[in-house]
Amino acid sequence: MSTVLQLASTGLLQGLIYSLIGIGLYLVFTVMRVVNFAHGYFVLIGMYGVLSLEPKGFFPFLGAVVAAALGGALVGYLVQRLLLESGLAKGGHSQLVITLSLGIAIQYLFQVLHPEPFETIPNPYPFEAFTSSGVTISAPRMAAGVLSLVLVLAVSFLVYRTRIGTIIRGCSESLNGAIHVGINVRRVYRLTFALGCGLAAVAGGLLLPIQPVSPALGLELTIKAFIVVVIGGAGSLWGTVAAGVLLGLAEALGSLYAPGTFATALVYALFFLVILIRPQGLVVRATSRIKPPKSLTKVGVG
């Protein structure tokens, strides 16, 4: 029983980090309808950013995480501005391949810079572990989960309760409408992309003391972010958060019953099924936002 409880609490905390990674992707996807295949690699930027700053102690660590987040956001801003923006009007294919290639480039850049796999940093927090009723949780894991939750709440506040959030949601709701009321859509897109990438980088920084980093991790995290967003659906940010927690729990509890690689294969196969069964989770609502549903070219066409 205590094993299950232990795994469940670990999974829950891990899931909160997945939620944080997922909402970055969710924002970029719902607002700009850009499918960022490089998302997991922005997590990697956060991890290697903190790693290379070599923080000693709690406050330097926090500083490093913030710096990594700003770095990730800056890279995201530049990517959006220099690479993606011009292709936005042309539809999804070019961005798909651009972000996929960008991810590969980032992965191998880190492969050259940090050939050593599974690098990590020592526990930066001033306490070691929490034990309660047979469940032990290490300080970095606890802190990462809690900080992720705080950030998720902060982002949801930003999106649902502030003026900037209203503007962001406006662009997501109706691009034409946003242009009509004088919103600078380009700027909103750049900021959203930067925000999404920054969140990914923060998550990376928080993840680093728990999970040793190697360049191949980027792809895995991208896939996980997609799983979270696809299962969560395009309806609300909370769907993404719930899906993140679900993924964390499923992963932790699944490790009880299936060996590593096979469990991963199972997760991917399930994900494939989810894509088949409910692609509308992401796609239909998003495309219907671009054009009014009764535009002439699309009448009677699925």
Binding site: I98, Y108, V112, I223, T261, A265, L276, P279, V301
Partner: protein, 359 residues
């Protein structure tokens, strides 16, 4: 069907220049193994293999626009079929090759059918096929039938064309791959030019809705193209497995292979005949060039991957269609179009569809 005088196809300067280049390239490819030492023949084999891989991806990915990563599964199937059937059970390698082709084709057909039936868009096609490939890699890594984490090593003694195996001199592999590449290229060109099925493919890519309304069976043709594409990709997997003599999930079922196929085709020019071949050979040459700088071999692949990615990003960012469209534009600029200027009649270039691809 009569071809008439083949020279009448050489009616524009671009076609004449291309004919000369293709003839020269083919002649060079034929004599290449006699000009260089065996290790360089191996490089030539790898270059042709990349070209073959890109080309077969391009059939579904370029002509039909299905940005698929399930070709990783096809590549792996080709490699594992020869590993399991030939190396373990001493079935003839050619039979194993055909088995790999058939399995991959069936898998490709089913994947495409499934995806189309559920109305999956380009993004989900890429994501779903990626998920499938990763699932396949996970299965291969934990199933002893496919050698789990250790992989399967070659064990045999026969050599020669009948066994698709050469130990010391790789020119056998080289010529076999060249043969496959030439046959598949000519076959695809004929398919795209002379058959209704082939001509429908770029049409489906450009606008599946109009294609369907014109009576093209979109879903079936997409699935058939995917089957053809993945089936032929499996050949490349079989050839590389025989060449390196070890197959494991890490060597043939990685995302990098799928991305390399996709990106190679796009660099060369997706939906062009020669583009994927040019890009494949070019990338192999680039890899060899980097090696000559005494970069450690682990870093060579890293730098190539980065170079790949950067080139693709730049190509897409600046809206060019890859090497082949650039080449065609360049030749036209130098030699002229060879056609009298015609007043533009319709906005849509309907006539270009007949060439088997659109602009």
């Amino acid at each position: 069907m009569t071809l008439g005088n083949p020279l009448r196809y050489l009616d524009t300067p671009l076609r004449r220049v291309n004919a000369v280049v293709v003839t020269l390239a083919l002649a060079f490819a034929l004599v290449y193994p006699f000009l260089v030492p065996p290790p360089m023949v191996g490089v030539g084999f790898v270059a042709l293999l990349y070209a073959l891989r890109n080309f077969t991806w391009n059939i579904a990915g370029g002509y039909v626009g299905q940005l698929s990563l399930s070709h990783i599964v096809a590549f792996g199937t080709g490699a594992f079929s020869v590993a399991v059937l030939t190396w373990r059970h001493e079935v003839n390698a050619w039979i194993a090759l055909v088995v790999g082709v058939v399995i991959s084709a069936v898998v490709g057909f089913l994947i495409s059918l499934l995806m189309s039936r559920f109305g999956v868009n380009a993004f989900f096609l890429a994501l779903g096929t990626l998920a499938l490939s990763l699932a396949a890699a996970g299965v291969a890594a934990s199933w002893s039938f496919l050698g789990d984490t250790n992989g399967i090593s070659y064990s045999g003694s026969e050599e020669g064309f009948a066994h698709l195996m050469w130990y010391i001199d790789p020119s056998g592999f080289y010529y076999t791959t060249l043969g496959f590449l030439v046959v598949i290229t000519i076959g695809t060109a004929a398919l795209m030019r002379f058959t209704h099925f082939g001509r429908s493919l770029p049409f489906i890519r450009e606008d599946p809705v109009i294609a369907a309304s014109m009576g093209v069976r979109v879903v079936r043709n997409q699935a058939l193209a995917m089957a053809l594409s993945m089936g032929l990709t499996s050949i490349a997997g079989t050839l590389i497995a025989q060449y390196v003599q070890i197959v494991s999930y890490e060597s043939v079922l990685t995302v990098e292979i799928g991305v390399a196929m996709m990106v190679g085709s796009i660099i060369g020019g997706a939906g062009t005949l020669a583009g994927p071949i040019v890009a494949g050979i070019g990338i192999a040459v680039l890899e060899e060039f980097l090696r000559s700088f005494a970069v450690s071999s682990a870093n060579v692949s890293s730098y190539t991957q980065i170079a790949y990615a950067v080139v693709v990003i730049l190509l897409l960012r600046f809206g060019t269609g890859g090497i082949m469209p650039l080449w065609e534009a360049g030749v036209r600029r130098v030699f002229g179009t060879g056609r009298k200027p015609v007043a533009p009649v319709a906005a849509e270039p309907v006539g270009e569809l007949v060439d088997g691809r659109v602009g």
